[in-house]
């Protein structure tokens, strides 16, 4: 028989297990700009930003198979809803709040299954800029809504640092300016995660060991881009067609990075 103490303990263990799996995930930044919305990250191997539906996109950190399951569930639910009712009825509020969150909460609480290792960031393009929103969904089913800027990372502290670096949201940012700002947010999160992991990012292997703090972000990003690739999902406003999602290509992004620091 379970006592309240056992339940607490069991949930604590599951939480530790999941958090350990998330800790080193490459953070994701969500940011609004005048032309639409962006999800910005640096990926190592797998693609990370995906289209969900006409006005929704998604990125996540965690275990690849879990990310894939949540992605497919979101896509299926959205398309079924869009077909049976109307594409206008597909919203993140319903998708995250009524489909994904309860399923994740159930999976997290069920002692018979390995917990789902995921922290996801969804973006939805509104009919007008004031309707744009982000949803960050956690492995235990908890979710938070953001407007303007949003961040997910391997730890709460890294997320806080990212939001701090991203600053106040501005609807009038151009797309490229927004990507640059997002990258600065990403660096803040990624550096924080590394410092937690190694306790000292200025160890012998670190490219930062000889660098002044002012240059540290640039050197860190350059180093990350040697092994990873910048990936930017773009939900475009003012596009005549239904499908507004683009994955920005390398040429556009190279130019953005070259003007960064």
């Amino acid at each position: 028989m379970y006592t309240p103490f056992d339940i607490n303990e069991a949930i604590g263990h599951r939480k530790d297990f999941v958090e350990a799996g998330l800790r080193s995930g490459s953070p994701v930044v969500g940011i609004q700009c005048d032309e639409g919305m962006l999800l910005v990250t640096i990926r190592r191997s797998q693609r990370k930003v995906y289209e969900i539906y006409d006005r929704q996109m998604f990125s996540a950190i965690g275990r690849q198979s879990d990310i894939e399951n949540v992605r497919l569930s979101a896509i299926q639910t959205a398309h079924q809803e869009g077909f049976e009712r109307s594409p206008d009825d597909v919203s993140l509020h319903r998708l995250v709040g009524f489909a994904l969150s309860p399923a994740l909460k159930k999976a997290f609480g069920d002692q018979m299954y390995v917990p789902v290792v995921i922290r996801a960031l969804f973006a939805e393009l509104g009919r007008t800029p004031s309707g744009d929103c982000f949803f960050a969904l956690n492995y235990d089913g908890e979710y938070r809504q953001y407007t303007g800027v949003a961040a997910i990372a391997g730890s709460q502290r890294a997320e806080d640092k990212m939001l701090e670096a991203l600053g106040q949201p501005e609807q009038k940012l151009s797309r490229d300016e927004a990507i640059r700002r997002a990258l600065k947010g990403w660096v803040a999160g990624a550096r924080d995660q590394i410092s937690i992991a190694s306790d000292d990012e200025r160890d012998l292997d670190s490219p930062l060991r000889m660098v002044d703090e002012v240059d540290a972000d640039r050197v860190f990003l350059e180093d990350e881009l040697k092994f990873g690739a910048l990936e930017v999902g773009f939900l475009q406003r003012r596009d005549k067609q239904d499908a507004r999602f683009h994955l920005l290509n390398g040429d556009v992004l190279d130019k953005v990075i070259s003007d960064l620091y």
Binding site: L72, S73, I75, H79, P102, K106
Partner: protein, 266 residues
């Protein structure tokens, strides 16, 4: 909820699992066992035409939708974009056709978003055959019969292509033209006459092909009581080329129709 893989990427399987009536199987038992005489309640799209031209395909439809002898609607859009490279011209049951259009739009997107690559042309043609076939039990009872023409631009062979279907879901590719709907049988021979005496459609400019297509629509309207033609309301024409789908502006249609009006002897 979080183990979605058994129906991944297939709208058909998703709808089947949820018991949606769209996917009832061929031969399914129906409450009514005989002809229900639904012609009086069902709205039908009439004639649609697709012809090639040198940059792609042009599809034209009159705007009429009828139920028996009544004109139900004279602003019907029967040439519809399914995605950036696929046009569907529809004839027959309007209700079924609209469901099918919605199904195909959703299904193609679902596939692409799931598998991160667009559905192949062959895959799209098979999806369309499947939904035509699924309508057979209804069609046998006199409702829901619908015949599509699919026009697409094939980026691999760099040409426009036209496919038409019969009521069983058999698919045929046409080298020059396709037509469906109530007026299509009456004008079938005229297509061949144009190819043999004027020139093959695929060698025509857009406006040449458009002129012939509008002339064909006019003949269909003369010979078929249900087809609206262009005497009262402008038809709708869309082209599909390497640049995607475009609607032919009403002004262009007007100019061509005025020229035709002057040259046709009535």
């Amino acid at each position: 909820m979080l183990s979605p893989t058994d129906a991944a990427g297939s709208l058909w399987k998703l709808l089947e699992q949820s018991g949606h009536p769209f996917t009832r199987e061929f031969g399914a038992v129906r409450p009514a066992d005989s002809h229900v005489g639904a012609g009086s309640v069902e709205t039908h799209g009439t004639t649609v035409i697709a012809v090639k031209f040198k940059d792609g395909v042009i599809a034209v439809g009159d705007r009429r939708a009828t139920a028996n002898f009544a004109v139900m609607y004279d602003k019907a859009d029967k040439v519809l974009a399914i995605d950036d490279t696929t046009l569907l011209a529809i004839s027959g049951s309007f209700a079924r056709a609209m469901d099918v259009v919605k199904y195909l739009r959703t299904s193609f997107k679902l596939f692409e978003r799931t598998y991160l690559q667009p559905m192949s042309l062959e895959g799209k043609l098979t999806e369309l055959a499947r939904v035509v076939k699924a309508g057979i039990p209804d069609a046998l009872q006199g409702i829901g019969g619908f015949i599509p023409i699919l026009a697409t631009f094939d980026r691999e062979s760099n040409e426009g292509r036209i496919f038409f279907y019969d009521g069983m879901g058999a698919r045929f590719e046409s080298t020059e033209f396709g037509a469906a709907g109530s007026g299509s049988m009456q004008i079938r021979g005229v297509f061949d006459y144009i190819v043999k005496t004027v020139k093959p459609f695929h060698q025509m400019t857009r406006d040449e092909a458009l002129t012939q297509a509008l002339l064909l629509l006019d003949i269909a309207a003369d010979l078929d009581a249900a087809t609206g033609g262009w005497a009262k309301i402008m038809p709708l024409a869309r082209t599909i080329t390497v640049n995607g789908i475009e609607e032919v502006p009403e002004e262009t249609l007007k100019t061509i129709i005025e020229q035709l009006d002057r040259s046709i002897s009535r």
